[in-house]
Symmetry: C2
Subunit: 552 residues, 2 copies
């Protein structure tokens, strides 16, 4: 078997473009919008982007295409973690370029931004592209995490572009990659290289969104895949009636994935990192919050449940971050050697007890021993605790077990608590894109080609009105600088695209907040099932609950 | 939201019956086949089942229905682990009973076989059944693992049946539950209770199959769900190009699930427990086998891959089983106290070193410390090692890392090895049944009702010719005793249904064996994607590769 039946069938799928892009290239004209300003720190951003700042927002509409039809060569880069639909961005870009001028060429730099620096690429052909249409993954050219951000890298990039006669680069990436796309665009403009840079908003985390970008691609497919699995586990929990499932989902800095999955599946518990931070919740408070649900459900004879835990949540617990900071300090430099020399965990524990503040020790003491040891024994090359290795799903189930033990002694809880653990991340990043992501991504790529044809530089390909059918989507472009502000990174002021966290006064969280007390006690599980590509439209074409609530 | 769009849409699905059951109840007649013999130990089995042994195989065909049309009351039980399609067995049974006689009644015993003993049931109605059609899970009445096997339990069961006027019991379960169904059938026959027992073959493990039962229900959906996830991870591996994914899948005693997933997704490695046992492979040999693939792929610049590990594989490694036996012996009774009293792991290790044989110690030494500790510190109430807790996916990745370290020192290997771990089990047991499982299960239930109407007892509902379209399926019944042999269980001779292991000379394994060397080195991944319920038939209606190969 070379390819699966579904893959074969998906090759035939024709992604839907926004209505205004459906009339053929010759019937796409530009409608100029207003000049733009960055979301904050306008003067500083303008000073950093003198050539690309303040440009107009634009939309496309039906009308005579007035762009130059010269032959163009475009390079495309996949940057960072995989997201379903990347292949469709490339095929949309390819189709629009070829439709504009059959002599246009699209090349793909291999394995991420480093491909540009290393002058390592392939030239796309019909046959090559056809094997990747409507499929998941970034394997069409590979992805990578090299950051393009230094003047030296930019100079090499300019040279590579000149050498091959490249007119434009399309960077498919998240907030960091698109920030770097803007800086590269400014560099090209400042040096009159004539090379344009266009970004496309990618990330399953959903944290690249703002008043212009309604959602990043991949979020829809990834959350639908996780929700399928969570729903299946909920149904298993409700059938076997004997396990509490603690399910960690991807999302280091923002909890959009966890929240969307909760809206889709209505679990008993879903932690939201942004809320934990805002309310300065302690580990003990969080454990009590979960234990309350376990206890109330047990009182109803339901010794089972499902809790969703966002990957990064412990980093949002203030007392935990403080503990980590103290541990990093305690083991800095030579002190680590003294610690490492201690032969037994008992002696190490005494060292820790003497070294940490009382507040930090109070937090340390309630952790399960495996996590205590992990914090001290598995450190990165700089000697720092590797917070990302902490299995938060196991941490919280252990803390909840402790709480329940206390409650059992007090007599308030008489149930049984058998936790099981899951982590869903890699399962969703390369799924076949949902119809929504297939359409959205193809449109992003097609639209990027139009932005290139019309000579724009430093723009993000923008498709909006996404909660409506594709026919009503709006295609256009937005200067990336509009989304920027200044943030302190590694002790320096840097212009960056503001990362979108879950807004606690936003409609998706509010909806969750209004319902979660009921979900915590009742069994209100919803089972979304596997992503469907065929069949009734309400099953196949709806995007996320998050977007629906935001746009309602 | 009360139910998902897919669930709503699936309510409308009309499961396909075998052609011969499509003419209405009044047009279903019995064709008697040959008398049957048990697969082995015929005399002993016959002696144990004097009233139900040796009955004829039967098939249904189009013809005048000659069965009695008296009003009947039937009870149904879900036994053991969840499998997709259980709800359809019940709805098929319900629909056939109501079509036979609208006064017929179907009741469901709650939470497994214990519901029968505890006289705890619900009465099914149209409205109730309609909420569960074509959905996953066993939440319609719950499941449980209580075994019905003692004369005392049977006596209570007979009483409950008498009290409610129950004419027949349908038991939906795996090999053990159907074994017990046969024993109960014999009991009812011996006591002239007039109650019939019919079994239905359920298990995602796929190990309830034989020359009569082509596959158990749920295997198709569960393996398709795992294959979706494995394919997604393969695509991620091939995009990021930096991780080796070790994926454990369910299957304690047989590796059908692992093998089917491998046939669907073509990973680099798939261990088959039955082969490990047959070849008496050591942990070191298995680790070398995997490390060979890692090394060869690294030589091609591919420092990534996917390995499937069946859940129970370590129990099939002879030297490991011997080690476990020695540990259980070493800690039996009072000796555990001496061991537990030792304060440090170092002292415990010395105790172990003195207590184990050289052979056992050689195996113990190569284990990662976390697993060494787990073997000694986490024991069941009888003091035995809990083999099921061993995370085999982590065990093998650790052993492979050791092998690669050696090879690096020798200079034969220069790659990078970053393992990640997954376990898929609960994600697939309650998925919405595939069209195949929806059709198969509905047919099993419908067919069970016909077996009841015609007065059969101790039969398994049998639907065959499953690799063909449903129209061509063959419906009938097989005496459960035909599948039995005598096995030693807990020191006693017991009549049991022979568990089907992966046959190393069977076509599915042979196909795997013929291809795996290529798959181990090349990237031959196949991405099945999510189960589709609508769309092209070749995407939606095909059953497993295992069945296709077995029937080709």
């Amino acid at each position: 078997m070379k390819i699966s039946p579904l893959q074969k069938a998906r090759y035939e799928y024709e992604p839907k473009l926004p209505g205004m892009l459906r009339n053929g290239i010759s019937e796409i004209s530009v409608k100029e919008g207003e000049p733009t300003q960055s979301v904050a720190d306008q003067e500083k951003i303008q000073a950093l982007f003198p050539n690309t700042y303040g440009k107009n927002e634009i939309t496309f509409e039906k009308g005579e295409n007035t762009a130059e039809t010269k032959k163009r060569k475009v390079g495309v880069i996949l940057s960072g973690g995989q997201a379903p639909g990347g292949h469709n961005v490339i095929s949309g870009l390819y189709d629009a370029l070829k439709a504009s001028n059959p002599e246009n060429e699209l090349i793909g730099f291999k394995n991420g931004p480093s491909g540009l620096i290393e002058d390592d690429f392939i030239v796309f052909t019909d046959d090559y592209i056809d094997e990747y249409r409507n499929t998941g993954g970034f394997d069409i050219i590979g992805s990578g995490r090299t950051k393009l951000e230094t003047p030296e890298q930019f100079a090499i990039a300019a040279e590579v572009c000149k050498k091959h006669g490249i007119d434009a680069i399309v960077i498919i990436g998240g907030d960091d990659s698109n920030t770097n796309a803007a800086v590269l665009a400014e560099y090209f403009a400042a040096n009159n290289s004539g090379v344009q840079v266009i970004g496309c908003p990618k990330t399953i985390d959903g944290d690249l969104k703002n008043e212009d970008i309604e959602c990043s691609f991949g979020f829809d497919t990834a959350t639908k895949t996780y929700s399928e699995l969570i729903g299946n586990i909920e149904r298993d929990a409700n059938s076997a009636k004997k396990y509490w499932h603690f399910i960690k989902v991807m999302g280091r800095s923002a909890s959009h994935v966890a929240l969307e999955c909760a809206l889709e599946t209505q679990p008993n518990i879903c932690l939201i990192s942004e809320e934990v931070a805002a309310k300065k919740m302690s580990l003990s408070q969080i454990a009590d919050y979960i234990a309350d649900s376990v206890e109330k459900r047990a009182a109803n004879g339901e010794n089972f449940g499902v809790a969703i835990i966002p990957e990064g949540v412990v980093e949002f617990v203030p007392e935990f971050s403080a503990l980590i900071a103290e541990i990093n300090e305690l083991l800095a430099g030579e002190k680590a050697e003294a610690f490492n020399a201690l032969p037994t965990w008992k002696e190490k524990y005494e060292f820790i007890e003497n070294g940490l503040s009382k507040e930090a020790m109070d937090v340390f003491k309630i952790l399960p021993e495996t996590i205590q040891q992990q914090l001290f024994l598995e450190r990165d090359p700089h000697g720092n605790v590797q917070v990302s290795l902490i299995e938060s799903e196991k941490l919280f189930s252990a803390l909840v077990a402790d709480k329940l033990k206390e409650r059992k002694e007090k007599g308030t809880y008489t149930g049984k608590f058998n936790p099981l653990h899951h982590f869903f991340g890699y399962e969703g990043r390369c799924a076949f894109p949902s119809n929504f992501d297939a359409d959205y991504c193809y449109s992003l790529g097609y639209n990027a080609a139009m932005l290139i044809q019309y000579g724009f530089n430093g723009y993000l390909s923008k498709i909006s009105n996404l909660s409506k059918p594709a026919e009503e989507w709006v295609a256009g472009g937005m200067p990336i600088t509009k989304m920027m502000n200044i943030e302190r990174r590694h002790g320096e002021d840097k212009p960056v695209i503001r990362k979108a966290l879950v807004e606690l006064d936003g409609k998706p969280f509010k909806f969750f907040e209004d319902n979660r007390d009921k979900w915590a006690v009742e069994t209100a599980f919803v089972f979304p099932g596997a992503i469907q590509y065929y069949g009734p439209s309400e099953v196949c074409d709806l995007t996320t609950r998050t977007l629906a609530l935001e746009k309602e």
